[in-house]
Symmetry: C2
Amino acid sequence: MAVRVDLNISLDGFATTTDQTPDNPMGDDWSRLVADYVATRTFWARVLHDTSGEGTTGVDDSYAKAYFDEVGAEIMGAGMFGLHNRGDDPDWKGWWGDEPPFRCPVFVLTHTAPRPSIDMLGGTTFHFLSTDPRTALDEALEASGGGDVRIGGGATVVRDYLAAGLVDQLHVAIVPILLGRWIRLWDDLRGFEAGYDVTTQSAESGVTHLTFRR
Amino acid sequence: MAVRVDLNISLDGFATTTDQTPDNPMGDDWSRLVADYVATRTFWARVLHDTSGEGTTGVDDSYAKAYFDEVGAEIMGAGMFGLHNRGDDPDWKGWWGDEPPFRCPVFVLTHTAPRPSIDMLGGTTFHFLSTDPRTALDEALEASGGGDVRIGGGATVVRDYLAAGLVDQLHVAIVPILLGRWIRLWDDLRGFEAGYDVTTQSAESGVTHLTFRR
């Protein structure tokens, strides 16, 4: 039962973008950050539900497969669920589609009024919590059925958990582009590496996969 | 005749440290940034003048060897030469020792009064310039005898040259530590990757070598 993070960041440490709009909720920068992940066979099958065999099968795909292994519950911020743009719509079920890829309980952290939980196709249930990171983690661990808990994003939520010392395994896919703006994953984390072992692996795409484990 | 940069940075993009003192001019953080480079056989031979065969011979050493290839002139900031701590001493020859590893003309950028050039053992001559990056580069290219010109550091000088579009090859050795303070190499370089090809290679040490070339 490890607490995990898997995140795509730019070389200069940015993990979200400034150019999100209701019509393009991911933004162009975000699309570039996740392009090599989105190109993997695992992403095509798990997220796009296309099992025709499309997609890359190299190093990036091996990390994409590991992304979904052993995760029994997920925690994400309101922005990652999609509350920020349509939070005033009580019927809004987020932008992950009818059958989200999580297939487990997902705890959405929000400062706005509580919402009822939502059961989605494929085993994902969204729960909405207004609480501190530690309490949300306890609830997710309880719901994970002995599996890992992933802190999914965005960058601010991830950094809160990193800074609180609550993350056992941090995997970042470092994309060799400079975004130069928005939220810096690494802010205020001086010395984070203490107590962790680190491994790095270069993918064919130019992405570097770096993992801290304790 | 390419213009090159080779720099060690932390995972969060810091290339210099806050804890420099006259007694410890490199600082503890800097020592951690360059530890795997300093451990290479090439560093032992070229910088420490110890050719007994000490030092690592893996991926980090292959980059250390390339560091000295083809460079016909070097440009560095006053801090890298060592002017900031002892600039008021006219006899101070910097902290690179009697036989610096450069073995070529080195142009030191300084805002203080011009100094006479200094001939060192082994072929290094330090020249002192108070001018803009482009003019200094022209002078270095002229002096390089057809070789490459390296922008040696520190981070501020390197960033000036990167931002001016004057660098043909940028190699960073990314060390998996978070320093969290001082000068960010990547500030204000959004979109720098455009026009460059990128390669990445993971070293046994955990360092990632990333190179932009155009």
